[in-house]
Subunit: 324 residues, 2 copies
């Protein structure tokens, strides 16, 4: 089975790790899982290219993530950042550990040698054993796209800050007026991205942020059309339970684009291509036009690999039922 | 007193730290010490700009050096390099610690912002409190100059490898045929370098490698002329004792340029501008045309700050005697 998923960071990574576990349990493999990762969060820090969502996917699928926070490396140390602070290097609001720094150094070195982000991501993925798991991780685009957030400066004027600055430094606490995906007008889908959507047996949308993760990937030229046109059922998992995001600040992001924070409203963002929608029992009343609803038989919370696998199973079963 | 010194890495740094200590002991300060550092050892590793000699000078003068090896940081850890090895990033023959990595990351970030190596070095020096010590560290040039070593490949052909590859990877064990300072034809002395030599009261040459440290600095356009023309006495300290280098591979470097490994022969390399030469008691027989000899009253070994200060005192006293 060829499964293609669009994914942001923590939620996407946990869901996909669960999906891998679920697929292993099925025992009818091998299955091919192509993950299209959001790169709108990417940022250059200390001159190094950092791809937070791709890294979270690599670390989580590769078994190197710091479980308690969902991103970054297990057993991390922070010597380099402490030294950079001593030198007065900026910025200091983004915490990078030493192991994590190595990823950014290797990536930046390889990008500097003229390799594409796709090639570099494949090199990094080797270390994490992704292909041995049947997983192929593709950045949504090889062109830099950076999500910026237009915020109110407080003096009546607005300013655009990098998404990471809003998300990490301000903890999404400053109301966002809108999001701008800088570079998107010049971006093309990375090699294999559109083909993976068109040629899939099943397309899944993990419970990633609908605005700044999935929403950004949907903005890549051709992606939305590929989702509308694919013969595969497209099934998503709600990132909201009873109007509240499971983690992160999806509610603040939805507010910025004038969309209600509800499972139903998020499904509406995908209405033109969504075939199935998995919700928490708390959202069983939810009605989604044109898509079949599946109410998960338990909380839509990915507390561990087993619960994530169970959710992934619900989504996959819904998709398979839509195929037949 | 305005003292200007040309310096390589470990030997230069230890001598200059000793000189600072000696000057403090004199108590007639403040004295200005301008250090012109060799940048021919500079290399780009993992996409980061590494300046081994400048860093050794910063760490040693700033109190952060790993004393037992003379370079690198005290209390160093090696998490980043281990991760880079796991990713298969190259090269792996140059050991960089985490604290050291931070220096290279900060430098590369600032260089990438368009700052000159002089400006970046001044920024790095702030953290190490150099100006509080009356020390100004200047790179010999803001243009990249990289020393390469022409070696015998073993099949009758020669190849040029970066100096660091020869020095660190091969431990100078492969006979060098010659040294080539790539980029020197386009290099200019960094701002302040020639002025510091011309305007000094005393110019000192620490016991740095005469070929690949001092020799490279002497190749920067204008430096040799400034040394010939300065009114200040130019006094050097022999890097050899009884024909053997105190540390490093100066003998292998001298062999490559066809110069005998002796205190006398090294002084000969500086004959056109040298006014005084400090040697070990073992080299008391040494005769240097045109320069006054001072035999140090003990081994010319910098075992600690006190012994280095004592050697620096001998050199400074010789220089001051030549002024009057």
């Amino acid at each position: 089975m060829r499964i293609t998923a669009l994914a942001g960071g923590v939620g996407g990574a946990r869901f996909l790790r669960g999906l891998r576990s679920h697929l292993d349990g099925l025992g009818d493999g091998p299955h091919e899982l192509t993950v299209i990762g959001n790169t709108g969060d990417d940022i250059t820090l200390f001159g190094l290219r950092v791809c937070p969502d791709l890294d979270t996917l690599l670390y989580t699928l590769g078994g190197g993530v710091k479980e308690s926070q969902g991103w970054g490396r297990a057993g991390e140390t922070h010597v380099v950042q402490g030294e950079l602070a001593a030198y007065g290097a900026q910025p200091q609001w983004f915490a990078l550990g030493d192991r994590d720094f190595a990823t950014h150094i290797a990536r930046s070195q390889w990008l500097g040698q003229g390799r594409s982000l796709s090639e570099v991501t494949a090199l990094l993925a080797q270390r994490w054993g992704l292909s041995e798991q049947g997983v192929r991780l593709l950045p949504m685009s090889d062109s830099p796209v950076e999500t910026h957030v237009v915020i109110d400066r407080g003096d009546g004027e607005t300013e655009a800050v990098h998404f990471q600055e809003w998300w990490v430094r301000h903890q999404a606490g400053v109301p966002a007026q809108r999001f701008v995906a800088l570079g998107m007008d010049r971006a093309a889908a990375a090699s294999g991205v559109l083909e993976a959507i068109r040629g899939a047996d099943v397309v899944l949308l993990p419970p990633s942020n609908p605005v700044v993760s999935i929403g950004i990937i949907l903005g890549v030229p051709g992606v939305r059309d590929a989702l509308r046109g694919t013969a595969a059922p497209v099934v998503g998992v709600s990132p909201l339970i009873a109007g509240a995001p499971v983690r992160g600040h999806a509610d603040a992001c939805l507010a910025a684009i004038g969309v209600e924070a509800s499972a139903q409203a998020v499904a509406g963002l995908y209405a033109d291509f969504l075939d199935g929608w998995v919700v928490d029992p708390a959202d069983a009343e939810c009605r989604v036009k044109g898509a079949r609803l599946a109410v998960h038989d338990g909380p839509l919370l990915m507390r561990d690999v087993a619960s994530a696998a169970h959710i992934a199973g619900t989504a996959l079963d819904l998709a398979l039922s839509l195929r037949s």
